[in-house]
Amino acid sequence: MIEWLHPGFIYIFGALLIPFLKGKWQKAYLLLLPVLAFVDLQYMSTGVFWRIPFLEYELVFGRVDKLSLVFAYIFVIASFLMTIYALHVERSGEHVAAFIYVGSTLGLVFVGDLFTLVVFCELMAISSMFLIGYRGTRAAFEAGLRYIMVHIFAGACLLGGVIMHVQATGSIAFNTIGLNDFASYFILTGFLINAAVPPLHAWLADAYPEATVTGAVFLTAFTTKSSIYVLIRGFPGVEVLIWLGAIMAVYGVIFAVLENDIRRLLAYHIISQVGYMVCGVGIGTTMALNGATAHAFCHILYKALLFMGAGAIIEVTGRSKFTELGGLYKYMPITFWLYMIGAFSISGFPLFNGFVSKTMVLEGAALAHLPIIWLLLEGASIGTFLHTGLKVPYLAWFARKEPACEAREPPKNMLVAMGLTAFLCTLLGVYPQILYRMLPYPVEYAPYAVGHVIGMSQLLLFTFVGFWLLRGMLHGTPTITLDTDWFYRIGMKKFIWFCQKPLMTFSSSVNNGLMKLVSSIVWFSRNPAAATNIMVNSVAFVVLRPFNPVYKQYARNLEELKKTYPGNPAKSVAVGTGVLLTLVFLAFYLTIYFIYA
C-alpha cells in the first residue's frame, strides 16, 4: 500500500511532535520536516496511491501527476523558506498550526476524491485560523472569527456541492467537474471563496493583515493557491472564470490604492494576482493553464517575499499604517532591497519571476483573442507596480526624513529567509526553464521575446511617471475602506443582536408568562374557595366602582380576604351540606335514569 510517504502527513503528524521539543532542537526539527518532505517528493512517481476504503467509498490520498507535483514542490519550498522566517517565534502552537496548515494543503493537492478534498479544505481553514488568532489583538480576534466563518461557509458550499455531485454521479472521484449542474455551482462557489474572487474576497483583505507577522507569510501562499490548483483540476476552461479573473485583477488594484495598512495593501494585491490565475484557468488552453500554474508558483515566492518585508517592518516597528511609517531606509536598507526584488517580481519586470509567468497568462489571453481581458490584465499590472513597487517603498522607507519610531534590521533568520526567497525569485526570472520543465503541459513559450520585454518595460516605466506626478495623492489617510465584508460584518452584528435581544426577550417573556400562569395556578390551588372569593370580589370591585359606597365595602372585603389568604382550606363540610348533596345527587340520578330509561 505505502508506495511512498505522503508529504502532507509528514507535516501534519510531524507537527504534533513540535510542542514536545524545546529550543534548538525544535528549530532543527522545524527545518528538517520540509527537507524531509522535499526529499520525499523527489522519490515520488506519478500514479495513484494510498487508496483507503472508508465507509462505503474509497478515498484516494495520493493522485500524483505533474500538476499536483508542481504545486507540491512550491508548497514545500515555500514552507521551508517561511519556516526559516518564522524560526525566531517561541510559541510552539503557532508552528504547529502552520505545519498542519501546510500539511493539509499538501494533502489537498494530492487528493483524488471529493471527500478527502473537503476534509483537507476544512483542516486548512481551521489550522490557518490559528495563525490569525495568535496575534492576540482584539482586531485579530474579530478578524479571525470572520475568517473562519467565511471559510466554514465555503466548506459548507463545497460539502453541499460534493454531496449533490456524488449523489448525481455515484462516484466520489475528483476529476474535471465543469460547470454544468447545481452541484458544480456549489463546488465552484466554495473554491471561489477560497480563491478570494470578488465579491467573495473580503475575508482575505480582512484577515491577512491581522495575522501574526510570520503567520501572514504562511497565509499568503497556501489557501488561495491551493484553490487555484483545484480550479485547474476541476474547472479548466469555465468561461465565467475569465471575466471573474480579469475583474478580480483590477478590483484588487483599485482597492489597494485606498489602503492605509501595508499588509492590507499587499493582501489586495494577492487578490489581484490570483485574478491572473483564475483568468488563466478560465481561458483553459494549455498555455493559459501553464500560465496559471506558473504564476501560482512564482506568486507564492514573491508574495511571500513582500509579506516578509512588510512583516519585518511590523516586527521591528510594531506599526503597519502608512500614516505612521516612513523614513525607514536609513535603518533597514537590506530589507528594502530584498523587498524591492519582490516588488519587481510581482510587477513583472523582466529578469524577475513575475515576468516569466505573468506574460504567459497574457499570452494565453492574446492567443485566445480576448482583447478586453488582455487590456484589463495589463492594466492590473500597472496598478501592481504602482503600489507594491512604488507606493509602498515610497511611503514606508522614504516619504519622511526620520521614522516616527525606532527601527533596525529585523532578526537574522528573517533576513536569511528573505534573501533565499529573493534569490529564487531572480533565479526563476533568469532561468525560467527550471520552472517551465515542471509545468503540467509542454511549454512552447519564450518569455524573453523582445516584444514582451519592451512592452512590459514601457508600461512599468511610464507608470512611474504617472506615480511621480500624482504621488501627492497617494499619501495614506487614517481610514478604512468598505468592502463586501460590510455585508456580513454588519449582518452578523445585527444577527447576534437579534439573537441576544429580541429573541431572548421574546423567549423569556413566553417563559415568564408560563411561569406566571403556573404560579397563579399554584396560588389558586392553595385554597380554591377563598381564591374564587377573592376573584369574584376583585371583579365586583371593578364593576361597582361607580357606586361609591358599595364599592368601598368591596374594597375593604378584598383587602381582608387577601390578608387572610390562603387561610385554612381544610374546613369541614357541615353534615347538612352532605345530606343536601346526597339528595341532590339522588334527584340527579333519578332524573337522568328515568329520562334515559
Binding site: Y329, G383, S457, Q458, L459, L461, F462, T479, I480, L482
Partner: protein, 81 residues
Amino acid sequence: MGKIEMKHLFWMLYACLFVSVLVEVLLHLSPHFHAHAAFVWQEIPGFGAVYGFIGCILIIVVSKALGHHWLQKEEDYYEKH
C-alpha cells in the same frame, strides 16, 4: 540619498523611458517584426508607454474618487455601526 544622486537617477529614468520607446519604434520599422501581434494596438509603437501612463493616472484618480465619495470611512466605523 542625496539630492544630486536623485537628480542623476531621474536623468537615468528619462533615458530609460526614451530608450524603451525608441527601441520599439525601431522594431516596428524593421521588416522582420510583424510576427505575432495578437491585437491591433500591439502594432502601435509606444502603446505600452501611453497605456501605462494613462492607466496609472486613471487608477489613482478613479479609486481615489471612489474612496473619497463612498468607500473610505473613519477607522472605528464598524464599532459604531
